[in-house]
Subunit: 374 residues, 2 copies
C-alpha cells in the first residue's frame, strides 16, 4: 500500500534516484527496473491511478538520466508527479511493444534489479526481448534500498506513530463488551483518519479465540466480558506508515491471561533492547523469542518478530532467524512478539522502533501494561 | 481489483479448476501457477487480506488435485474460502523456503502458465529453484481462460451493469455547474454503493479540457456552464464488474460538440454491430475506428476500443488492432470509442457488451443521446 502525499520535491527524488543507481552499480547491477508501487513512489512520487497490464517502469542506469516508460494514456498523470522534473518520460501507445521500447534502454547482457511486485508478465516480456539479461528481485539484490530513513522520513514516521498512539488512547475508552469486532474496527479506522491518516491498511480486532489467529482481521463475533482482544492497526499518514499492536482485556483478566501478557511484554522489551547498530536483524528475533521459549511458550510464537516500515506498512528489513543484515541507524521496523493459544486467546504487543547511534528509539509509546477496557 | 462476494460454491470452483487444468494441458503446459488476484478469486474464491512478499500460489496440474501453497499465518483465512474444499492447502512457515516447497509440486522441466500479476520476486524464486522450467504469462498462454462467462456469471455482470445504469439515471439529475469534479465523483461513488456495489474502482469526471485526457480521473476543477463532461464509472457488485461511460453537456452544446458526440455514438453503434461469434476482436476496434477516421477525427481516438470484464473491471479480451482472437458467445467486454480534442473537450460512450449466439447484447442501456445536465 502506498501513498503520494509525502512532502518531497524534485531534488529529493533526484537524490534518491542517483543514490539508487549508485547502489545498484556497487552491487554489480547494470540498472534497476522499478514498477508501480512503493519503490516507484519512493523514487519519483508517482503512483498510477490503477495498476493494469499496461507497462509502467522506471529505468535507472548508473551514469545515465532516469527514464520513466509509461502508457501514453497515463503520461499526463505521470507528468504531474513531484519527481518527474528529475527524469525523462517516454510514452508508448496501445498496440506498440513496450518491452522493445524498454529493452532499447538496457544493456542487453546486464543483470538488473527489479521491484519485487513488478508483474511476472512484464518480467517475462523483458526476458523474452533480451534473452541474455538476468534479474534479481530488489529484496534479493538491494534489500536495504529503502531501509535507512533520512531525517525527514523519520519525522514523518514519528508523526504517523504518534497518530496511531492517539488512536489507541481513544479506542481504549470505547465500549468493547457486546459490540462486534467489526464495530470496534470501524472506530479504529475513523480514529486513524481523524488523526491524519489518508489510508487505513489494517484494523485487526481479534477477540477471545480469534486472537489466536495472528492474521485474523475482523469478524462479526460479539466481544464478551472476559475476552482478551488483540488490536493491531495502521496505515499511511502523509505517505509514511504506522503500525502498532496492543492487547486489551474486557474486565479483569485471569492469572494465566495476565501471566501470558506479562511474558509478551517482557519479550517485546527484550527485542527492543537488542536493537543497536551493527547487530544482525536475527538477533532482535532471537532476543524476543528466547524470553517466550524460556517460559515454555516457544511453540505458540508462530511468526517472525518484525518487519520494516516506510512508504509501506510492511517491507524489509525483517527481524527473522537467518537475516544477518546488520542494523544501521535510521532503519525503522516493528518489534512485535506474540503468543497464540489455539482456541483460547492471543497476545501481541508491537511498537515501531528506529535504530539510533547507540540503541533504539520507539516511535510508539502507549502503555505496554495490560489495559482493562469495558 | 477483485472481490469475493460472488455466490459460488466448492463445486463451481472445482469445475473451474478442472477446466483450467485441462485447458493448460491442451495448450502444452505442465500446469498453472495462480497468484492472489482475479485469477485466484475466480478459481477458488480466495482473496488474501493483503498481498505481501509472502508466497501464496495455487498449483494446478493436469490430472492431479489442486494445491494452494499459503503462508502458515494466512492458512486459517484460506481454509474459509468457498473453493478450499476442492483443493489441498499446503502451508509454509516464516523462515522456510516457499519456492522449494512449490518446486516439489512441479515438473522440473515443464512449461507453466503464471498469473500476469504474480510478483516478479516469486517468478524469479521459482526460476532459480527449477532452472529448467519455463514460463508464460496467462495473458500470453491462455488469454481466454476467464473470458467466456457462464450463465451465472452473465447474470451477475448484467446486474452490475443495471446498477451502473441506475447510477447514471440519478447522476444526470444532480447539479454539475459550479461544483467540483470531485464532488460529482463522490456522488457517483455513493450511488454505485447504494445500488449494490461493494467496491468502486473508478469514478472519472472529466470536464471541459480535462475530458481530452482519457485517463483523467477527477480533480478540483469547478465544472462550468458550457462544459462537456465525460463520466466513466464502475466497480464490483457481488464480485462482478460494471463499467460504463456517458458524456453529458452542461446546458446547450455548440454545433461542433453535438457533431462530435453524434460521431462517437455512431462509432459505438458500429463497434456494437460488429460483435458476433467468430469475428476477430480487432474487427470491433476497426468498425468503431473507421467511423471516427472517416469523419477526419482518427488522430483523436487515442486508445483501443475495449477490454474484457468479469471478476475485474479490466481484463482480456482486448478489442484492439492485432488481436485476432475470435469472439465466442459468453465473452463480455466494453465497446468505448472516444474523441479527445486537446485543450478543448472529450467524448466517450461505453457499454459492456456480451457475445450471443447471433450477435451482441448490451449490458448497459441508458440513452446514448447527448444528455443535457444543469
Amino acid at each position: 500500500m502506498t501513498g503520494t502525499a509525502a512532502p518531497f520535491g524534485a531534488d529529493d527524488y533526484r537524490a534518491r534516484m542517483e543514490r539508487a543507481a549508485r547502489t545498484a552499480a556497487d552491487a554489480g547491477l547494470a540498472g534497476l527496473l522499478v514498477a508501480p508501487g512503493p519503490d516507484l513512489v519512493w523514487l519519483t512520487g508517482y503512483a498510477p491511478t490503477a495498476v493494469t497490464e499496461r507497462l509502467t517502469v522506471l529505468v535507472l542506469t548508473p551514469g545515465r538520466d532516469p527514464v520513466l516508460v509509461v502508457p501514453t494514456l497515463e503520461a499526463p498523470d505521470a507528468a504531474k508527479a513531484a519527481g518527474t522534473p528529475a527524469l525523462t518520460l517516454r510514452d508508448w501507445t496501445d498496440g506498440k511493444d513496450p518491452y522493445a521500447a524498454t529493452a532499447a534502454l538496457l544493456d542487453s547482457t546486464g543483470r538488473f534489479g527489479i521491484s519485487d511486485n513488478a508483474w511476472a508478465m512484464h518480467l517475462l516480456g523483458l526476458q523474452k526481448a533480451l534473452p541474455r539479461t538476468s534479474y534479481a528481485s530488489l529484496t534479493d539484490a538491494l534489500p536495504m534500498l529503502r531501509a535507512v530513513k533520512d531525517e525527514a522520513e523519520l519525522r514523518l514516521l514519528a508523526a504517523a506513530g504518534a497518530a496511531a498512539d492517539a488512536t489507541f488512547e481513544e479506542i481504549r475508552k470505547v465500549p468493547f463488551a457486546g459490540r462486534k469486532e467489526s464495530d470496534v474496527a470501524a472506530d479504529l479506522s475513523d480514529l486513524l483518519r481523524r488523526y491524519g491518516h489518508s489510508q487505513v491498511d489494517f484494523t485487526i480486532v481479534a477477540s477471545g479465540p480469534n486472537g489466536a489467529n495472528p492474521h485474523h482481521e475482523v469478524g462479526e463475533r460479539v466481544i464478551e466480558h472476559g475476552d482478551m482482544v488483540v488490536l493491531d492497526f495502521g496505515g499511511l499518514k502523509d505517505g509514511y506508515g504506522s503500525d502498532t499492536s496492543r492487547t486489551v482485556h474486557v474486565g479483569e483478566p485471569t492469572d494465566e491471561e495476565r501471566r501470558v501478557h506479562d511474558l509478551v511484554r517482557e519479550a517485546q522489551e527484550a527485542g527492543f533492547r537488542a536493537v543497536r547498530p551493527g547487530v544482525a536483524c536475527q538477533e532482535v528475533d532471537r532476543a524476543a523469542r528466547a524470553v517466550i521459549a524460556g517460559a515454555g511458550y516457544g511453540e505458540y510464537f508462530i511468526h517472525r518478530t518484525g518487519h520494516g516500515i516506510g512508504v509501506t506498512t510492511h517491507e524489509p528489513p525483517y527481524m527473522i532467524e537467518g537475516e544477518e543484515q546488520p542494523l544501521v541507524p535510521g532503519m525503522c521496523f516493528s518489534v512485535e512478539p506474540g503468543v497464540y493459544l489455539p482456541g483460547r486467546f492471543g497476545v501481541r504487543i508491537e511498537d515501531i522502533v528506529t535504530v539510533t547511534e547507540d540503541g533504539g528509539r520507539r516511535l510508539n509509546d502507549t502503555t505496554r501494561e495490560l489495559v482493562i477496557v469495558n
